[in-house]
Symmetry: D2
Subunit: 415 residues, 4 copies
C-alpha cells in the first residue's frame, strides 16, 4: 500500500475511534466495570501507545515519548515492552484526564503522519514494508478496540440503575424466517488465511483439515427460540450442561442471558437503553456454556471453526454498524443462509489453538495472539459492533467460555 | 438555634463541601479506589440525600424527590429508608454526571432554605426543635464526609503512578521536641457528653468510669520514632504484634506504613503529591495493628479512650485545616502537651462499644452509629482534614483495626 | 503444691483426656472439619508437646525430644518456640498414627513423673516453684483442650450426613422456670483474680471498675424463647442486627442457630446425635451477632463482663460434665439465679482486652493469651463440656464474634 | 465374554484395589488433601457404589441398597442418579469406618457374583449383553480409581512433613539415551477406537483427520533436561509461557515442578518417600502450562493427540506397575522409540473435545465422560501407576491445564 493511502486510512480509523467516544462524558470514559473490561479513555490511549511503541520508537528520528509514564500505564500485556499498570486498576486513572489523552492522540497522529511522509520519499524498502505492515496491524488493532469500546461501555451502563442509553433503541422486528439446515459434504478442505493480504498471525498458515459431512443452521438462534429453552427449565436441569458450565451457572446464579431483565414482560439491556425483548432478533451475550447447553437441548451442537469457515467462505461480509443510530443485531430477513457476519459472533466448539505450522510474529507484537492459546473458545463471523472493513471469513475471535459481554450468539450445527 | 443562624450555618457548610471539590475534575470525582472509600461525587450526593430524606420528606409540603432513583443510589446504609446501591459499585455511576449532582445540591439547598423560612414563622414548636436537631445532625454528617472526601481522594491518588497533587506539599519541619510523659492520677472520672449541645448519640450518656493512674505521652509519635521501629526489624518480628495483626501484615505484605515509599530516601504520599518523608511530623496512616505493635516495641501501650478523654479535657481544640494550602499533620512545636486535636486521629485500645445506658436515636437516623459497635476501635481527637468546628473532646471516631487510609496516628500511654 | 499431689493431679488430667478419646476410632481422631477446629489426635499430641516443650526441655537432664519433627507439627502458635505446621492442614497428618501419639503421651508422662520425682528430693526451690507453676498451667491448658476435643468433634460429626453420636442423647426436659431479673446496684467494684491461686494471666490484675446499676436475667435464654425470635422473623429484619452481624448472616445464609435442623419439627444436632429440639434447654451455638440481635429484639442487651462477674461472684460453680453419659446443657430447674456455670458460655458485650496493668507471662508462654486481645469477645461462666474443676468466676473465655461451634449461649441484661 | 470369565476378571480387579489399600492405615484412607483428590476409603466405596447403582439396582431381584445414605455419600457426579455429598468434604466422613466400607465391598461382590450366576443360566440375551458391558465398564472405572488411589495418596503424603513412604524408593538410573526425532509423514489418517472391543465412549467414533508432516521425540523429557530449563531461568521469563500459565505460576509461586524439593541437592517426593532427583528419569507432575513453556524454550511444541496416536499405534503397550515394589517412571533404556506407555501420561496440545459424531452412552453412565469436554487437555499413553491391562493407544485421559498431581510428563513434537 502506498504511504498516501496508508495515511488516509490511518486518519479515517483514528477519527472513527474519536467519533465513537464523542457522545460520552469524561466520567463515562474513565470508569471500569470489571477487570475484563477497560475504560474508554484507556482504549483511546492504549491504541495510541501501540503506534507510539511499535512505529514511532523505531521509525521516528530522535524519538522521545509523549510522556514516560504512559509507556507503563497504557501497555496492555506486552512483557517484551516492559512493566504494565495492573489491569483491574485501569479505572482508577482519573489522571491523565481525557483531554490529555486526546492531546496524546493528536501528538502521535502528527508524528505518525510525519514518519509516513518521510517514508514516501523512499529509502530502505524492506523497512518500508515493515512500517506498512505494522501500521496496518495497528489499524486493525484499533478497530478491535473500537468494538471493545462499545461492549465495555455496554457493560458499564448495564451496572447503572439509571439504564443510560448510548444510541437509539432498536425497534421490534418482523417475524424471522423459519430455520433451515444447509447440507455440507465433508472431505479434505482448506482453512486459514493465504497471507496475500492483511490478517492476524493466528489465521495462518492456510492448511488442510478433514471434515465429516455436517448440517449448518441457516441463521442464528433467536430470542424466541432461546426463551423456549428458558421456559422449558433449561437453566434448572444439569443434563443439558457441561459440568463446568453448570457450576458456573450456579455460582453466578444465572437464570437467563446476562442482559435480559425479567418482569411482566422480558426486557433487554441494549446500547439504546432498556428495551422490550425482541423475540425475532438473535440471542446475544450468551456464554459458551449457555450456547452449548442450548444446543444440547435443541438436539444439535455448536459447529467447529473449520465447519463454520467452510460454510461461510462463499457468504458476503455484511455490515450494519451503527446504521440508523442503532447498535444491535438485526433479525434475519429471508430464508437463505444469513447472519454469518454483522450481527453476532458465533461460538464454535473449537478451543483456541495454533494452526499446524503456526509461527507467532517476530518481536513484541508476537505476544498479540499466540500466548492466549489455552482455555479459550473461538468465535467466528463478526458482530453489529465490529467496525466496517474489519471482518474476514478466516477471522478467529476468542474468549473464555464464561465471557458474556461481547455480542456472542449461537449458530447450530448437526452431524 | 434560630432558623436564620441555622440557615447561615447550613450555607457555610454546604459551600465548604463544594470548595473542597472545586479543584477536582469530573473524572476525579467519579472514581472509587476501594470498597471502603467512595467517589467524591457520591459524597456530594449522599450528604444532599441526607437532607432530602430526613428533612424535606418530613417538612416540605407536597414533597417530591429530585429524582426517584437517587433515593436508592445515594442511600449509604439506612435499612429503614430502603434499598441501597451496592457499596463497591459506587464508582460505576458515571451517570448522573457531576453537573447533575450539583443541580441536586442546588435544588435541595433551595428547598431546605424554604423549609427554614417557613419554620421561622412559627408553628409546631416541638417539631421545630426536631427540625433544628436533624438539620444540625445533617451538617455534622456533611462535615464527616468533608473529611472522607479528602482521605478517599488521597487513597485514589495514591494508586495513580502519576502521583497527582491535590494541594501544596508540606515543607520539612523543625526538630520536634523530646517526648515527655504526663502523670495522670486515677480514680472515678466522668466521660461522655452532657448533651447540652450538639453531639452524636454515641457520645452519650455522660457516665462514670474508674481509671487507674497512668502516664500519657506529650505528643504524637513522629516519623523519626516510627522509622526506628522499622529499621529495628519491627515488621519482621511477630513478638511485637497481635496474632491477628501479624497475619494481616503477612497477608498485606506490609513493611512500612501505607503511604511510605522506600527508595534511596524515604518518601511519603501526601495530598501535595509524593514528598520526602518529614521525620519530625507525626506518623500517620497506620493501622491499629501497627500502632499496637509500635507501642509494644516502645515498651508502652495505647491509651484507653477514657484515659485519653480525661487528659484531653483541658486541652484546646486546635486546627490548621488547609492552612497555607497544606493538608498534612504538623510537627509538634513545643514541649508541652500537644497535638490532641488537628493533626492525627489517635488510636485507643478501646473497642467501639455503647456507653452504659446508651440509646440510639429514634427513627432511621438511629442507624447512624449504634449498629457499628462491634470489631472496631475508637480513635480520639481530630486530624488535619477534620473541618473547623467539628472536633470535640468527647468525639468518638471508629474504624476497623486494619484501616489505614484515615489520618490515624499514635499517642502512647504507660501504666 | 507438693510434687506428689502434683503428680496425682497430672495423671488424673492426662487420663481424663484419653478417656474422652476412648470411644473414637483412629479415623474420627484424624479429621479436621474446619481451620478453627483441630483433630482429636492433634489435641492429644499438642497437649503433650506443651509439657515436653515447657517442662522437659528445661528440667529433664539430657533432654532429647521424642521426635524432632513433633516440635513443629504440634506447635500451635508459639512463635518464640519456632516454626509451626499450618493450622488448616492439621487434618492431613495421617502420620504419625494415633498409636504413635499414644506412645508419645506415655513417653512424656513417664519423663514428667521422673522430673517430679527428682524435684521432690529438693534442690533449687525457686526453680521448683516455676516447675509447679508451669505444670499446673499445662494441666489447665490440657483441660481447655478437653473441651475443644468435644466441641471440635461435635462440629466434625455435624458435617456427616450419618449424624453419628458420641454419647447418649439428651431427654426432653421439664418446663423451665419463668425468667426473672436480678437487681444489681452499681458503684466501684473489683473484678479479676487476686493471683493467690492458679489463674490465667489474662484474669489479672484484680482491679476496680465503675458499674452503673443494672439488671441481670435469672437464667439463660431457652430454645423456646429463641424460637420465638426465629418465628417472629428475627433473621429477616436487619433492624435487630449489628451491621457486620447482618452481613455475616447473609453471607452464611443463616436462618437459625448452627446446629438446629428445620423440618416438620425442629431438631438439634447434639453429641448424642440428631435429637428433637428441647424447648426448655438453653439455646447454644449462637454467635455474638445472634446473641446481640436476640437481645435487641428482646429489648435487653448482653451484660458486660464486669457486670457478669459482679453478679456471679456469689454463685456456686456447678457442673454436670458427662453426667449420665450426656454432654448437653440442662434446663434451669428452679426460679433462683441459675446457670452461671456448667451449661453454656455466656457472651458478654466486652471486647477481649487487657486489664489495666496487665502483664503477659514471661517467656514463650506469654503468647498464651495476650496476643489474641483484639476483635474477640469475652464469654463468661463455663459449659457442659468444661471439665470438672476448670471453671472460675474470673475466667475469661474469648472467641471471634462469628464463632458458633462452642457451647455459647445468652444471658440477658438490662439497664 | 462369558459370565464365568467375567466373574473371574471382576474378582481380580476388586482384589487388586484392596491390595493397593492394604499397606495403609484407616487414617491414611480417610484423609483428603485437596478438593481434586479423594480419600482412599472414598475410592473403595465409590467403585462399589458404581456396581451397586448401575448393576444391582437393575439386575438384582428384590434389590435393596446396602445402606440408603451411601447412595448420596458415594455418588461422584451423576446428576441423573440424584444428590451427592459435596466433593471437598469427602475427607470429613470418618463414618462409615473403613471396616464398614470393606463390608460394603464384600456385600456387593457377593451380590454381583449372584447376578452373574443367574445370568449364566441364560435368559434375556440382549439384557445379558448390557450386563456384560456395564460390568466391564465398572471394572475399567475401578482401574481408573486404582490409579487415582496412588496419585491422591502421593499428594496426601506430600503434604506431610514426615515424608511417609508407601512403597520402595526408586534407585538412581543409568544414563538415558540421547533424544532423537521420529519423522512422521502427514496425510489423512484414522484415529479413535473401532468399538470392536471395550473402550470408553469418548474414544469413539473412529474417524479421519488430516495431519501435516511432523517429528516426534523418541522418548520423554528427562529431569536433566527439565532442570536445564529451570537453571536457565525458565520460571522467571514470561516469554516462554502462555499468558494464563504465567499468571498461574505467579499465583502458585512455582519455581520448579510440584514434587521437586530444592536444597543442596535436588530431591523429589516419590511414593517411596523423599528421594534424590534422578536426572535420567522422566520429569513428571508438571502442569500443561509447564509442559508448554518447556516445549517453547526447547524450540519444540507439544504433539496433538492425533499425532501422538498416529505415532503410537505401532508401539507395544509396556507396563511395570509396581514392579520390584516401585511406583515411579523409569528412565528410557535404549535409543528407539520409547515410553509411549507405562511411565508418564503425556500432555498433548489438544483440548478435550468430542470426536466428530460422538454420542454419549445412554442413561446415567452417559455422564461419565461427555460433560467434561471443556477447558481440559488430553493426555495420552499411560503411567507407572496405570493398572496392567488398562492402557490403549486410543485412550484419552484429560485434566485441567493446572493439574500436576497425576504422573504427567512431556513428549516433544516439531513441525
Amino acid at each position: 500500500m502506498d504511504t498516501r493511502t496508508l495515511a488516509q486510512r490511518y486518519l479515517a480509523v483514528r477519527e472513527q475511534t474519536l467519533a465513537l467516544a464523542a457522545p460520552l462524558s469524561a466520567e463515562d470514559c474513565c470508569a471500569q466495570s470489571m477487570a475484563d473490561a477497560s475504560p474508554v479513555k484507556w482504549h483511546l490511549a492504549h491504541t495510541t501507545w501501540f503506534f507510539e511503541t511499535f512505529i514511532l520508537e523505531r521509525w521516528q528520528p530522535d524519538f522521545r515519548p509523549f510522556h514516560p509514564a504512559f509507556r507503563v500505564l497504557f501497555n496492555s500485556y506486552y512483557n517484551a515492552v516492559g512493566d504494565k499498570h495492573p489491569r483491574p486498576q485501569r479505572g482508577l486513572l482519573t489522571r491523565p484526564p481525557l483531554t490529555a489523552v486526546r492531546e496524546y492522540r493528536n501528538d502521535v497522529d502528527r508524528r505518525i503522519l510525519a514518519v509516513l511522509d518521510a517514508a514516501e520519499g523512499g529509502g530502505k524498502r524492506r523497512d518500508d514494508a515493515a512500517l506498512s505492515d505494522l501500521l496496518t496491524l495497528g489499524l486493525h488493532h484499533e478497530q478491535q478496540h473500537q468494538e471493545l469500546i462499545l461492549t465495555d461501555l455496554k457493560h458499564l451502563f448495564s451496572r447503572n440503575p439509571l439504564a443510560p442509553a448510548y444510541s437509539k433503541p432498536p425497534q421490534i422486528s418482523e417475524r424471522a424466517p423459519e430455520l433451515s439446515w444447509l447440507e455440507c459434504p465433508g472431505g479434505v478442505a482448506e482453512i486459514g488465511h493465504r497471507g496475500d493480504d492483511f490478517c492476524f498471525d493466528n489465521e495462518t498458515p492456510r492448511h488442510r483439515v478433514f471434515i465429516e459431512p455436517f448440517q449448518l443452521a441457516s441463521r442464528l438462534v433467536t430470542n424466541r427460540e432461546y426463551l423456549e429453552f428458558v421456559d422449558a427449565g433449561g437453566y434448572a436441569d444439569p443434563r443439558f450442561w457441561l459440568s463446568e458450565g453448570w457450576d458456573w451457572r450456579v455460582a453466578e446464579n444465572r437464570h437467563h442471558p446476562l442482559y435480559w431483565h425479567p418482569g411482566e414482560r422480558w426486557q433487554e439491556i441494549t446500547l439504546g437503553g432498556l428495551s422490550p425483548l425482541d423475540l425475532e432478533r438473535p440471542v446475544v451475550h450468551v456464554s459458551y456454556y449457555e450456547a452449548d447447553a442450548f444446543a444440547r437441548w435443541a438436539e444439535a451442537r455448536l459447529p467447529s471453526e473449520a465447519e463454520w469457515e467452510l460454510a461461510a467462505t462463499t457468504q458476503p461480509v455484511e455490515e450494519h454498524f451503527g446504521a440508523d443510530g442503532v447498535f444491535h443485531p438485526r433479525a434475519a430477513s429471508d430464508s437463505g443462509m444469513r447472519q454469518f457476519f454483522g450481527d453476532a459472533w458465533q461460538w464454535t466448539q473449537s478451543s483456541y489453538a495454533p494452526y499446524p505450522g503456526f509461527r507467532a510474529s517476530a518481536g513484541a507484537v508476537g505476544e498479540y495472539n499466540g500466548k492466549f492459546m489455552v482455555n479459550q473458545y473461538v468465535l467466528r463471523g463478526s458482530s453489529c459492533v465490529t467496525p466496517p472493513g474489519h471482518a474476514r471469513v478466516t477471522y478467529r475471535n476468542f474468549f473464555p467460555a464464561s465471557a458474556c459481554w461481547q455480542f456472542s450468539g449461537i449458530r447450530l450445527a448437526r452431524d
